[in-house]
């Protein structure tokens, strides 16, 4: 049954050093504030999972939270590379980063298998690519009826799944709408889950296209208005495209990044973004 907590309290209770943690949100509703709180609390040795690691993962990796990244597309969308990610892979700064690389279809199926309580998923994928050579978690599997060979990928079952949604009610039922990506699967695949929301309301009003997570499927809810910035929350605020561009020079330079960490994260109670 979901408990409604403060963000700092929720991260302190739910996220431990060494955990496998997934922050999901496909362009929309990225749980950025939760990622910043993980940096603020100094978590280490995390295995970070995310289909599309972008700025918030660049920040977490640059801050030294992660020892491994599981992903399918990593970049600053429309801008370029994630330089903290590259610095960690190529130079081990501030700590070495191991990677486990899939395709979107593979990652989506890994979450779906995790949500379904299955040890693996089957897909038509990866055939003829170099990914299986470098990624141990892609294996062939034979259809017991047709003999055809397909790809198998193991379930992802994070210790903690973190998403951002528009609303929760006071009982902790969660509602999100617009593009909802792989967020339901992330919560259902995870041993513990945190949903940050734009607002806690008395009652959820059913909406077209909404995804509802009942309170008994969620561990904790934290009210964090603006918690998805610089990504967007449909019905609340737009994407801050300039932030993505402004991130590039900060990310490129270790010193500028350290200054950013100091001023925007470590010395603030809650980041402005």
């Amino acid at each position: 049954m979901a408990r409604i907590l403060q963000l700092d309290e929720a991260i302190a209770k739910l996220v431990n050093d060494g955990d496998t943690v997934a922050l999901e949100g496909f362009t929309h509703l990225i749980p950025v504030a939760a990622g910043h709180e993980i940096i603020r609390q100094g978590r280490r040795d995390l295995t970070l999972v995310r289909m599309t690691p972008d700025i918030v993962y660049d920040q977490m990796i640059g801050a030294g939270c992660a020892r491994k990244l599981v992903f399918s597309w990593g970049g600053n969308p429309g801008v370029g590379s994630l330089h903290r990610f590259r610095d960690a892979i190529q130079n081990g700064w501030p700590v070495p980063l191991e990677i486990e690389e899939h395709s979107h279809a593979g990652m989506a199926n890994r979450y779906a298998a995790g949500a379904a309580g299955l040890p693996f998923a089957v897909l038509r994928g990866y055939v003829g690519t170099d990914l299986p050579e470098h990624t141990g978690t892609i294996k062939p599997i034979e259809c017991p009826f047709t003999g055809e060979t397909l790809a198998a990928v193991p379930a992802v079952n994070p210790d903690v799944g973190i998403i951002h949604a528009q609303q929760a009610d006071r009982q902790g039922n969660v509602q999100m709408w617009g593009i909802t990506g792989v967020q339901k699967e992330t919560v259902l695949a995870s041993a513990r889950s945190l949903v940050t929301v734009e607002e806690v309301v008395d009652e959820l009003t059913p909406r077209p296209g909404a995804v509802v997570l009942p309170r008994w499927a969620v561990t904790a809810v934290a009210e964090v208005p603006g918690g998805a910035r610089p990504s967007y929350a449909q019905g609340y605020y737009e994407r801050d495209n300039s932030y993505y561009q402004q991130w590039d020079p900060i990310s490129r330079d270790r010193e500028k990044f350290e200054q950013w960490l100091a001023s925007e994260i470590r010395t603030t109670e809650r980041s402005a973004r």
Binding site: P77, Q90, A108, V127, G178, I179, G181, Y232, N241
Partner: protein, 258 residues
């Protein structure tokens, strides 16, 4: 034909848009593919079905989306579904007619690299974003259009990493691998259009852009580029195409983002 000046990017976008037949279901990435698809929908293909990997089926944006997950896509879609569903129920079974791909490197068989360049996998010279939806778009769309600027750095003899499969090592490889889509049918470039040779599946220059030369194209290919005997020049963008394209581009202020 147009009386106006146009850029080679505009020519590429228009060529890509023209490749989209009305009523087709098209898997669209952000950037040039999204611009081309939206241009087509406003010109010759009003019933083009736009599908974005974020889960929007049949999006009808009234401006260019700034990302594959732009709110305007969800607001205007026939249906918004989850990311697992878009890959499993829509892309994988071969329901989607046309997919767009681009990349840092392409080879003569239309295989694409969006993963690493130089060095080795664990410590590359350049770390690219990775696979995203590309391997399964390349495998499962009925047809694929590749859109890339030509240069000997990007049109290479050998990929540093195969992220997405075109024709593998040549004709028959897709069938051998069990890939069900037809594969890349065109590489649309800033110099012209390449199409696979029906015998060998090697990409061959079959059309030049207005103003471009065969010599430029040969120089911009990292392999000995084959050229069709009959090499027409593509029609330049029409006034309508250019006007609509520029109106579309004006709907975004600060650059396209994925």
């Amino acid at each position: 034909m147009t009386s106006q000046e146009f850029t080679s990017d505009e020519m590429m976008t228009v060529a890509a848009a023209r490749s989209l037949r009305d009523g087709a279901a098209c898997f669209v990435g952000i950037g040039l593919p999204s611009t081309a698809a939206n241009l087509a929908r406003r010109t010759h293909a009003p019933n083009l079905v736009l599908i974005y990997e974020s889960g929007t089926l049949g999006a009808k944006p009234d401006r260019l989306p700034l990302s594959i997950g732009d709110g305007v896509l969800a607001d205007t879609a026939d249906s918004v579904i989850s990311v697992p569903e878009i890959f499993n129920y829509w892309l994988q079974p071969g329901r989607i007619d046309i997919g767009f791909l681009g990349g840092a490197q392409v080879d003569r068989f239309g295989n694409i690299n969006t993963t690493v360049i130089g060095g080795y996998y664990a410590n590359p010279k350049v770390r690219l974003p990775g696979a995203g939806g590309a391997p399964e778009i390349a495998a499962s769309c009925r047809e694929v259009l590749i859109v890339m600027r030509m240069s000997s750095r990007s049109f290479v003899e050998k990929l540093d990493f195969v992220t997405s499969v075109g024709y593998g090592s040549g004709n028959g490889d897709r069938e051998r691998l069990g890939l069900r889509g037809r594969g890349p049918v065109k590489i649309i470039t800033d110099l012209g259009v390449l199409e696979p040779d029906p015998e060998t599946s090697e990409f061959t220059l079959t059309r030049l852009n207005p103003g471009a030369t065969v010599e430029q194209a040969r120089e911009a290919a990292g392999w000995p580029l084959k050229v069709a005997a009959d090499l027409p020049v593509q029609d330049a963008p029409t006034d309508t195409e250019l006007t609509v394209l520029r109106e579309l581009k004006a709907t975004i202020d600060n650059g396209e983002t994925k």
